[in-house]
Symmetry: C2
Subunit: 218 residues, 2 copies
DNA sequence: CTATATTTTTAGACTAGGCTAAAAATAATA
DNA sequence: TATTATTTTTAGCCTAGTCTAAAAATATAG
């Protein structure tokens, strides 16, 4: 149906539309895909031809309903495969993204239907990101960044914003994973750093770390 | 490491080297890959550059040790994925080939190691074809075509030569699958057709069918 | 409201992997 | 052996997707 490159562009634009509201710029796409703006212009013109997004020269792009559906389906496949890799093949959560990046492009409706069933129709991937349903609908959950939590409040980790191997390995070292309870013991206002408690350990984390952990307050 | 196209060529040549002994011709490759001879010439020149096969103009090609290893690994991945699709996702054996054709190109050593373990290190795929080990070694089993079996002998189905959906669905209708016992009740010499018994049913099969079922005599 | 900086697009080139049509080599036949 | 048929290669063209360099549009600043 769509090429690997087309699917990757649609997915990137979908994510950018959520990150910043509204139109997405050529440069933003180029940066997020580690490609050149001129390549992006070429591709978005092709995608506009195919009615997957709307495009006016020098103004950004916006996915059409069809474009959103295609993008959400790629994301659905990516996240389902990540669940498979972690739950069934016992990969660690910092190892699965690159492989899912390939698996997300396998073309077969039936395969995804069966994979989803095999996995017990999971709602979230191993990093806490929601898995779109087969119609491309993403359920939004109320979650906050750990950095937004006040002193003496408690939250349970429900996801991560960053999911690079480096960051995930850092979290492992600190025994933080999805479901882990975190209590904020102290907060420095001038740099946003925190002292937190995880199980019986108390330690310091930087603002950068706190801004990449999603929690639900409890 | 290698592109999708390169992997497909190596796989096709590997299969052709086994089917006919010795060098493989440009036309044979073109036919088996449903492409044009001129395209094949281009690609085999590239593969020769990369030392994956030896090539002398107008004489055919022959895979090098390296080329064989790459090809066998693609076949290993193809067949392991087919086992996954049938054993875990409950696909039918006539539905898996096309999907495995895509999955075989996913690049990750670790993935295949884990998939193999997850599946219990199977020796054969759902069509009875042997799965090469991680070094690319294929164990040969002694098997005959049903067409080579004499009247009144019995064999157990251990594989199929053809594995098109059409043929596999025909076998289903006749209740023949891997492990099924087949007794040859009669054989016509002028056209090679047979009367066989499968469970309690006795019926006619053409030479074409008999030439595409592998059995071990019992 | 100009002048400069930034963003975006265009123009032209490249690689991978195809194709067709024609030429060259090899094989088959008279 | 000479001629014809088949196989294989070459030459040239195409599309997808990328790039660099230059031009054009938009945004920012004095
Ligand atoms: Mn991922
Ligand atoms: Mn991708
Ligand atoms: Mn197959
Ligand atoms: Mn393939």
């Amino acid at each position: 149906m769509f090429t690997l490159a087309e699917e990757n562009y649609l997915k990137a634009i979908f994510h950018l539309e959520h990150e910043f509201q509204g139109e997405v710029s050529t440069n933003a796409i180029a940066e997020s895909m580690e490609t050149k703006p001129s390549s992006v212009t070429d591709m978005i013109q092709k995608l506009a031809e195919k009615k997957l997004l709307t495009y006016k020269r020098y103004k950004g792009v916006q996915l059409t309903a069809e474009g959103k559906k295609v993008a959400a389906n790629v994301i659905r496949k990516h996240r389902l495969w990540e669940v498979f890799l972690v739950e069934k093949l016992k990969f660690h959560w910092d190892q699965v993204h690159e492989i899912a990046e390939q698996l997300e492009h396998i073309q077969s409706e039936e395969l995804i239907t069966r994979l989803d069933k095999f996995l017990g129709s999971p709602d979230f991937d191993p990093h806490g990101d929601p898995i779109p349903d087969k119609h491309g609908v993403l359920k939004r959950t109320e979650k906050k960044l750990l950095s937004e939590i006040d002193k003496n409040q408690k939250g349970v980790c429900v996801g991560v914003k960053e999911s690079s191997p480096e960051f995930l390995q850092y979290l492992d070292k600190k025994k933080i994973s999805i479901g882990t309870k975190i209590r904020v013991l102290g907060k420095e206002f001038f740099d946003g750093s925190m002292i937190i408690q995880v199980f019986d350990d108390q330690f310091f984390i930087s603002k950068t770390v706190a801004e990449n952990i999603y929690v639900q307050t409890i």
